[in-house]
Structures are given as structure tokens and as C-alpha cells.
């Protein structure tokens, strides 16, 4: 059973395509992050789900009910806006109680429920505070409480934490995730911050230029990126262009790699995360080793970043300080690319082919 | 907006009048003889106050140059402001022995107010032979008989109708009271410029003498209250009524005879009728402030203006009714008919507006508003 199904949902503004047909199944209780650079269509997609934008094509279902044409105010989804959109003429409590007021809940019940919700977001006793007297974090919580006031089927958040400073943002990410888990509510968050997505999401949907590139768990998106865009956008990666020979070998600049499970012969892109690259402080050859020269070392305390020049290309490796090779920049080194850490990607956008 | 009397009353007809004025010659006033040679000296000059706008332009163009040519007296024309501000200025200046203008064109109520302050220098009719022609009701006199002013220009307010709505011209002001004319009238909005009290007195109470007493005035107010249902528009803006009259929106009312004549000449379906009770004859007078040191020149000026030929010129060029009997002028029937009528006029009771202005105004406003 799928809670929310997007079936080819598209949005065009004249000749500009904001979202190509987006197809996605989101099961109940999932925490989903729509992740991508600005202008990738993630907010438009969220607004179509909320009913604030009319899709140019495709359909939207919730629990097998077609809600494509349903107006926003009948969908019963809670939404937190990037600007938070708190009503300036109302107090914190009145903001939270607004959806109850609209539905004709009695004044006493409104107050009671607003107080409960404010307790839930850890703002006890703030009901009578005017919105203008609240701090950024407090406003954030009021906006969340308001969106959840009616226990919605779907909880939508558009860049909800972007206005907060870094420290508060991290704390709120964890808090938001905990709240979602406690309530078990299906949640969709739009963000351009991949750390935020990795922290909170059960399902990360990576978007670029109006298309969904990959929808998978954070670990999967990180470990098995679907394409070069995803690999590059999520964390840091080394991308090497190579020529597959068909016999399980791949020639890359600086040498040849043996990837046993690789099939076919074509030009491909190899992606390997810096932390998977092993740097040896000698010039010894070996399987899947490429000779190079250490060009730069950055000591980050918890880790060491090494930049190695291999046949005119830079390969970045991140090592634990205790694994740091005892060579100075300028010395010859070899880098080892373990086959099980290598992901082969098509040169053009497309789906990944697992190498090992 | 309009003054109580004639300050800007020509608003509606200015452009047409200006066009007409430019078309004719200047022959009429050319024959001026018999003025004392002593006054032909170059340094003689006179400041003359004329209502700003249409009147001043017309006088500057058609009258003053002829006067200077005939008498050698240069005229410096002064534009008088609207309202009674000019009277106040003259009074205050006179206290300081100053004369912003030697001769001024004054409304009748202003004449009376000036007389009460003894502002006007007494005029000597003996020095102004031509003033013998001036109609008696246009000569302003102090209670003791001294002459304070001489009629300068006069005009008529008549009963006007749209010829399409009224194929037959009404004969009497009584038409205003005819129940058949319900909602069809346009009348002037102020007691002091509509002169409807006089019309009521002349039509229903045998003449404006009925207004001598407060009881008589109240009779007239009561009578006027009866025609309220007939009134569509109590107007202050002449152009508004003129447009409504032409279109037939408001097919009957009171309006200026000469301006209506211009509309007829334009081919508009309107007519002006002198009712049998007479048209309302309003006027302005020449008066000299007692602070003026040029009383002699002022006499020459007023005498010149009272000549039949100059009065005819004014009728032709400025559109005013002559202040002298028609027979003395060379005006043709058409020329005379355009500005006046042989029917005895209703002369406004200016004395009443001077002494009881506030009471009349309040009664009037309550009457038409209530």
C-alpha cells in the first residue's frame, strides 16, 4: 500500500519545463527529502503535491484516491513555508489554532489544542506571545505546530530550516526527525542541503533540472549513486573517465584497473569516494594501483585530506590520521582504488551499473 | 465659481463671444467730439477696475483704445478679483488714502455696501451730459440724493426652454409653477444670484414692492417652496445647466439671455423668452473711490461710456444690454434683441440683499434643502 503516488506529475510555464513527469511512490510514515540545487524543480513539485500549483500533466493519488484536481484547502495536508508564513496579526496560539478556527472548533477547544501543540514543539506557555516577539527558532516551532494542528495525512516542509543559523539548524533537524518518528506522519521536506537530507530522510529524492535522478535511502544514494550528477552532488567524489576493454579491465589515465564484475566495453565514468581511496607512501605497484605524486595535504584534525596528482588528474583521498602516509608533498605515492568501492556510471545521464 | 453678480458669469460663453468679438469692425465708437482740449495732454491717465477675465479682455480690446484715442487719457486697466474682496480692498486702501483704481465696475450689492461706508465719491451729473440718457434704475444714489454710481453694463436673466421639448414658448414666469413641468427646471442655486424672490413677487404678488416687508418676503419664500418639485437641478455651474438645456435633459429654466442667444446662433434647440412679467435685469455700475485724485478724468470716462455709440459698441462687442433707452442707440432689432427687450424688466431688490443677506440666505437654503 502506497500513501502517496506521483504519476508523471509535470509542470510547464509556457515553454519552460519546471518539472518533467515525476513518478514516485512514497509509503506511509516515510520521511522524504526532495534534494537538489536551486531551480531544480523540487519546490514546484512540493507545491503541486500541496495543491498550490496546478500540474500541467500527470496525476496524484493518496491511498489510491485521485486528488490531482482537489483544491489545496480540501487536501488536509500540513505545510511549513520557507518564509514560515506566520500570520502577523495573530498570536502564536492563534496561529496554531487558525486551522481549527476555520473548521468551527469552539474557542475553548482551540485554546486547549493550541496549548498542547505548543507543548509538543517545546513552546509551553507561549500561546499569547505575538509572532513579532518570537525568535527565529520559536517561529519555526510555531509554524510546525500550526501545520500539524489537524494531524494531517501529509506533512510538507519547504526549506523549513534555511533561515536558521548552522548550529540551530542541526539541532532542529534532529528534533524534526524525532517528532516525525513519534507521530509516524508521512513527511516531505524540500532542501538543497545534502547533510540535512542525510540526517533526516528515509528516502532521498535527488532532483536536477526538473528531473528525478534517484530516489533511494541516504546510504544507497551515497554508496550507489545512480549517475554522475548524484555522485557529485551527494558528498565528495572522484570521477574518472575510462575505457572498458570487455575483459574486466578498465583503462584510466595513469593505469589500468581490474574490475572483475564489469561487463561490456564502452567509455564509462568511474566514481569513488575519497574515503575509499587508499594512499600508499611508496611507489610500489600492484593491482588497481595508480602511480602519482602527493600534491597537497590538508589536516582537518579528525581526518586528513590528501590530493594526489595522477597523470595530470587530481584524485582526492580522505584518510584517518593514523593511516596518514609518512611522505611529504611532492613525493611519489600510489593510490589504490578497491574494486568494491568503485561505481561505474554511464557517461551521459542514466542509471548506474554496479561494478563489484 | 460664479460671483453673486457678474464676475465670471460669462464663463460658459467666453470662447464664442471672443470669436464673435473678433469678427466685427471698430467703427462704432470712432465719432467722438466735443471733449475739452485741456484733457488731451499726454500725461493724463486713469486706473479702471474691471472684472477680470472676459470683461477685462473685451474692454482692453474694444473699448479702452477708442477711449484713449478720443480723449487722450491713457487707461490702465486693473483686473478685479471675484467676490467682494475688491470692495474690501478699496475700503482699506481708501483709509490709507490710496486708490488701487480710480474708477471701478461694481455689482449693485457692492455699490450699496460702499455707500453705507461712504466710499464712493459723489458724481456731478452736470459734468457728464451723456448720463442724462442712462435709465433711471441704473443710476445709484445716496439716500440724500448724491450720485454714487452710473450704470456701466447690464444684462438679462430670462426664461429659457428647449425648443424640442417645448414647441410653444412659455409666456410667463408662471410656467415655473406649472405642475406639468415637474422635474424639468434648472434654477440658480443662490438667493442672491437667481433673484427668484423678485420673480415670485412679480408673478404672484403684483410686483417686487411686495418684498418691502418681511411678511411679503415670507410669502415669496412660501410661493417658491411650491415649485421645488419642478426643479431637477439647482445649479451653480452655468456650463452644467447650459449643456443640460441644449440636450433637453433639463428643458426649462432661468439663464442669461445673451448666452442663450449665442447658443441659438450655433443652431442649438433652445430659446430665450422675456416673460410678460419681464426679464431679470442685473447690472454693474461705474463708481469712483473717494481716495481717487482724478475725479475730473473719471467724469470724462463715465460720460464717454454713457454715450449712445459706446453703449451700442458694448452691445455688439461685449454682449451687454444698453444702459440707455434703445431709441437713443443705432442698434438694429436683431442687435437689440440679442441683448435686451422692450418689456419692462424685473429689477432686483439689491437693498434687500444688503440689509438682510444672512437671513435671506438662511431662509433660502432651508427652503431648497428642506
Amino acid at each position: 500500500m502506497s500513501a502517496l503516488v506521483l504519476d508523471g506529475l509535470a509542470k510547464r510555464y509556457g515553454s519552460v519545463v519546471a518539472v518533467h513527469g515525476a513518478t514516485l511512490r512514497i509509503p506511509h510514515g516515510q520521511f522524504v527529502c526532495l534534494l537538489g540545487p536551486s531551480g531544480c524543480g523540487k519546490t514546484t513539485l512540493l507545491r503541486m503535491i500541496a495543491g498550490l500549483e496546478e500540474p500541467s500533466g500527470g496525476r496524484l493519488f493518496i491511498d489510491d484516491r485521485n486528488i490531482t484536481e482537489m483544491p489545496a484547502h480540501k487536501r488536509d495536508f500540513g505545510m511549513v513555508f520557507q518564509s514560515l508564513a506566520l500570520f502577523p496579526h495573530l498570536t502564536a496560539g492563534e496561529n496554531v489554532a487558525y486551522p481549527l478556527r476555520i473548521r468551527g472548533v469552539s474557542a475553548a477547544d482551540q485554546r486547549k489544542r493550541a496549548a498542547e501543540l505548543l507543548d509538543m514543539v517545546q513552546l509551553p506557555g507561549m500561546a499569547d506571545r505575538p509572532v513579532s516577539k518570537l525568535s527565529g527558532g520559536q517561529r519555526q516551532r510555531v509554524a510546525i505546530a500550526r501545520a500539524l494542528a489537524l494531524s494531517p495525512k501529509l506533512f510538507l516542509l519547504d526549506e523549513p530550516l534555511s533561515a536558521l543559523d548552522a548550529k540551530l539548524r542541526e539541532a532542529m533537524q534532529i528534533e524534526l526527525k524525532q517528532l516525525q518518528q513519534r507521530l509516524g506522519i508521512t513527511t516531505i521536506v524540500v532542501t538543497h542541503d545534502q547533510r540535512e537530507a542525510m540526517t533526516m530522510a528515509d528516502l532521498v529524492v535527488v532532483m536536477s533540472q526538473g528531473r528525478i535522478h534517484q530516489a533511494a535511502s541516504p546510504v544507497e544514494v551515497y554508496r550507489r549513486p545512480a549517475d554522475a550528477f548524484v555522485a557529485d552532488f551527494i558528498g565528495m567524489t572522484n570521477l574518472l573517465e575510462g575505457e572498458a576493454a570487455g575483459n574486466g579491465t578498465l583503462s584510466v589515465p595513469g593505469g589500468t584497473l581490474v574490475l572483475p564484475e564489469m561487463t561490456g566495453n564502452s567509455r564509462v565514468l568511474l566514481s569513488i569516494r575519497p574515503e575509499d581511496v587508499v594512499v600508499h607512501g611508496n611507489a610500489e605497484g600492484g593491482p588497481n594501483r595508480l602511480a602519482g605524486r602527493l600534491s597537497f595535504v590538508r589536516d582537518l584534525g579528525a581526518s586528513v585530506e590528501l590530493r594526489i596528482d595522477v597523470a595530470g588528474r587530481e584524485i582526492v583521498a580522505v584518510a584517518h590520521p593514523k593511516d596518514r602516509p609518512s611522505v611529504a608533498p611532492g613525493s611519489p605515492v600510489t593510490v589504490e582504488l578497491p574494486p568494491q568501492a568503485c561505481v561505474l556510471l554511464p557517461l551521459a545521464t542514466g542509471h548506474a551499473e554496479r561494478a563489484a | 465659481m460664479t460671483n453673486t453678480t457678474n464676475t465670471t458669469r460669462f464663463q460658459g460663453g467666453v470662447s464664442r463671444r471672443a470669436v464673435l468679438a473678433g469678427a466685427g469692425g471698430l467703427a462704432a465708437a470712432a465719432t467722438v467730439t466735443g471733449f475739452p482740449n485741456i484733457l488731451r495732454a499726454q500725461d493724463k491717465s486713469l486706473k479702471v477696475g474691471v472684472y477680470g477675465g472676459y470683461f477685462k479682455e473685451s474692454f482692453d480690446k474694444h473699448v479702452f483704445p477708442e477711449f484713449t484715442k478720443a480723449t487722450g487719457i491713457a487707461v490702465e486697466s486693473v483686473a478685479e478679483p471675484t467676490g467682494e474682496a475688491w470692495l474690501v480692498q478699496l475700503e482699506q486702501a481708501a483709509r490709507a488714502r490710496q486708490a488701487p483704481a480710480d474708477v471701478s465696475m461694481m455689482s449693485q450689492v457692492a455699490m450699496l455696501k460702499g455707500m453705507s461706508a461712504d466710499l464712493w465719491a459723489p458724481l456731478d451729473l452736470g459734468k457728464m451730459p451723456n448720463t442724462a440718457n442712462v435709465l433711471p434704475h441704473l443710476v445709484n444714489k445716496y439716500p440724500d440724493g448724491r450720485v454714487a454710481g452710473i450704470g456701466a453694463v447690464s444684462w438679462f436673466i430670462t426664461l429659457v426652454t428647449n425648443t424640442q421639448s417645448y414647441p410653444q414658448a412659455p409666456a410667463s414666469w408662471a410656467a415655473l409653477w406649472d405642475p406639468a413641468n415637474k422635474g424639468k427646471l434648472g434654477l440658480m442655486a443662490l438667493v442672491s444670484n437667481s433673484f427668484l424672490l423678485e420673480v415670485a413677487a412679480a408673478t404672484h404678488f403684483g410686483g417686487t414692492k411686495h418684498l418691502d416687508t418681511e411678511a411679503g418676503q415670507l410669502d415669496c419664500f412660501k410661493k417658491l417652496a411650491e415649485l421645488k418639485d419642478n426643479v431637477n437641478l439647482w445649479y451653480r455651474d452655468e456650463a452644467q445647466f447650459e449643456a443640460a438645456l441644449k440636450s433637453g435633459e433639463i428643458p426649462m429654466g432661468q439663464y442669461y439671455h445673451d448666452v442663450t442667444g449665442l447658443a441659438v446662433a450655433d443652431g442649438q434647440p433652445v430659446r430665450s423668452t422675456f416673460p410678460k412679467e419681464g426679464g431679470i435685469n442685473d447690472s454693474g455700475s461705474w463708481a469712483v473711490t473717494r481716495a481717487s485724485t482724478k475725479l475730473d478724468l473719471a467724469h470724462v470716462y463715465i460720460d464717454y461710456m454713457s454715450q449712445p455709440s459706446v453703449q451700442a459698441l458694448l452691445s455688439r462687442k461685449v454682449g451687454t444690454a444698453p444702459t440707455i433707452p434703445r431709441a437713443k442707440t443705432d442698434l438694429t432689432d436683431a442687435e437689440f434683441g440679442a441683448v435686451s427687450s422692450e418689456i419692462a424688466p424685473i429689477v432686483p431688490r439689491y437693498d434687500m440683499y444688503q440689509t438682510k443677506a444672512d437671513w435671506l440666505n438662511e431662509k433660502w437654503t432651508e427652503m431648497i434643502v428642506g
Binding site: A72, H73, Q82, H89, L150 | S116, D237, S247, I368, V369
Partner: protein, 284 residues
């Protein structure tokens, strides 16, 4: 920047000029008017400096009381109707593409340039029997015969609202243009229909702007003295018309000044009342 309050003459200089202008062009004339309102009217003359209350006494009658209450009622109605039309209009306007907004604003500014006289004439023609809109209704078969709708209360109201409308839009425009429309979307996701969101979010959030605009339109309509003459019947003449009558036609400056002072005081009192009520509600 100087953060502390200005102390020396030089530091006060920037506000001296506007203060001077305010004194020369507002305080002094208004003071003169107050002074004249106590002068003695000389009937058949002008007025003399004095200190009499007769001008105010004359005003305190049922007749002028009725005129005053009609004027206030009319101005209030004009203000409310103008804002009731202008507010939704401006709400739509600020959401149009920018070039279309500019075209509308230019159009409204050009309406502003029309004089009261032209507006009065246009409306009296539009509502006339001979050339007015009722002829159109007759042509379509909705009416039996063309009818004159002017002068009358409806015509006067239409003219005054028409005149106040562009000002009202221009005053509302900046506030609505700055308005965060995600508030409306938030209201919709919280269960408000667009109409409900308009009344539960937009209107209350801009309440101060709306009250301010109503006050502006009220004061504006209160000062109108030409349209009531052109489009109204005598019973629709406002106090401003009577003030004009007294000042210009009756040369009764003291009485005109007394009425004007009274009108200013009553309007100030009403505006103050509106502001106090607004603040009290706002602080709740």
C-alpha cells in the same frame, strides 16, 4: 549617523525647513481661520476683528446639525465603498505581471489628473436621461424608457467614489505589493478557501493600512464641494458646499471660518477615535 537626539541648531537643520513650511502653509493659515471665526460679521459690509461666539451659535441649529451629519455620513459611506472596491482591485493588481501593473497605475494617475468639474460633468452625462446608460438598458430591453439618474444620491455617491478610487488604490498599493502572499497559501493549506483566506488573513493582516486608507478617503470626501453641487440635489449639499457659499457668495468669512473650524475638529475627533479603537483592538 548621529544616534543621539539632535542638540545643536545645525543638527536640527534638516527638520527646520519642513517645520517652517508646515508653519507657513498650514499652522498660520489655520490659526488665521480660527481667529476669523471669532470676528464679528458686518452684514452689508465685511467683518471686523472682535471676539464673538455668534458664528458658532448660528451653526448650532438643527439645520446645520443635519447638514453636518449628512456630510459625515456621506464621507464615511464614500470611504467605505471606495476601499471596499479598491482593496480587492489592488489585491488583483499587485499579482499581475509588472508591465500590466505599470499600465494600470499610469491609467489611474491619468484619472487623478481629471478635475472635479470634468468628473462631475462626465457622471451627470453618463447618468442623464438623454445620453446616459439607461438608454443602453432600454436598447437591451431591460427598461421601458430612459431615466434620469442625476442629480441624486446615487449619482453623487458614484462620482465621489470614482474620484476617491485612484487615491485609495495608490495608498493601498505599496502595502499590498509588500504583502507576503505565502500567507494566503498557508491559509489555503490550513483549510481556508481563497475567499475565506481573503477575509481571515489578508484583511486582518492589513487592518492598519485599511483603516488608514478609509480615514484618508473619508477626509478627502469630506472636503469635496463641487461634486455635491453638480451631482446632488440641495438635500445632498455637504457642509463644504455651505462653507463655500458663505465664504464666496455671502462674503461671510467669520461664519464660513466657524463652520470650517467645526468641520476640522469633528473630522479630527473621528479620525482620533478610529485610531484609538484600532490600537485597542490591535493590542488585544
Amino acid at each position: 549617523m548621529i544616534r543621539r537626539p539632535p542638540r545643536t541648531l545645525a543638527e536640527h537643520a534638516p527638520i527646520l525647513f519642513p517645520a517652517l513650511m508646515l508653519i507657513v502653509f498650514f499652522v498660520i493659515p489655520f490659526g488665521l481661520m480660527i481667529a476669523v471665526s471669532f470676528f464679528r460679521r458686518v452684514q452689508g459690509g465685511f467683518y471686523e476683528p472682535d471676539f464673538v461666539l455668534a458664528n458658532y451659535e448660528r451653526f448650532l441649529s438643527a439645520f446645520f446639525g443635519n447638514v453636518l451629519s449628512f456630510s459625515l455620513m456621506l464621507a464615511g459611506l464614500v470611504a467605505v465603498v471606495a476601499v471596499a472596491i479598491a482593496f480587492p482591485f489592488t489585491y488583483r493588481l499587485v499579482r499581475l505581471p509588472h508591465p500590466a501593473q505599470v499600465r494600470w497605475l499610469v491609467f489611474l494617475l491619468s484619472v487623478l489628473s481629471l478635475s472635479e468639474v470634468i468628473i462631475g460633468f462626465a457622471w451627470s452625462t453618463l447618468l442623464s436621461r438623454t445620453a446616459g446608460i439607461t438608454n443602453l438598458l432600454v436598447a437591451v430591453g431591460l427598461m421601458e424608457a430612459p431615466q434620469s439618474l442625476s442629480p441624486g444620491f446615487g449619482a453623487l455617491l458614484a462620482g465621489l467614489v470614482y474620484q476617491a478610487f485612484p487615491y485609495t488604490v495608490l495608498v493601498l498599493y505599496p502595502a499590498l505589493a509588500r504583502f507576503d502572499f505565502s500567507l494566503m497559501e498557508a491559509a489555503r493549506t490550513l483549510g481556508s478557501s481563497p475567499a475565506r483566506a481573503f477575509f481571515t488573513v489578508l484583511v486582518p493582516a492589513l487592518r492598519n493600512t485599511i483603516v488608514g486608507t478609509v480615514i484618508m478617503a473619508f477626509v478627502f470626501a469630506l472636503g469635496s464641494y463641487l461634486l455635491p453641487q453638480l451631482l446632488g440635489r440641495p438635500q445632498h449639499w455637504t457642509l463644504s458646499v455651505l462653507i463655500t457659499d458663505q465664504a464666496i457668495y455671502q462674503s461671510n468669512m467669520p461664519f464660513a471660518a466657524a463652520m470650517a473650524v467645526f468641520l476640522v475638529l469633528v473630522s479630527l475627533a473621528l479620525v482620533g477615535l478610529a485610531l484609538i479603537l484600532g490600537r485597542r483592538e490591535g493590542s488585544q
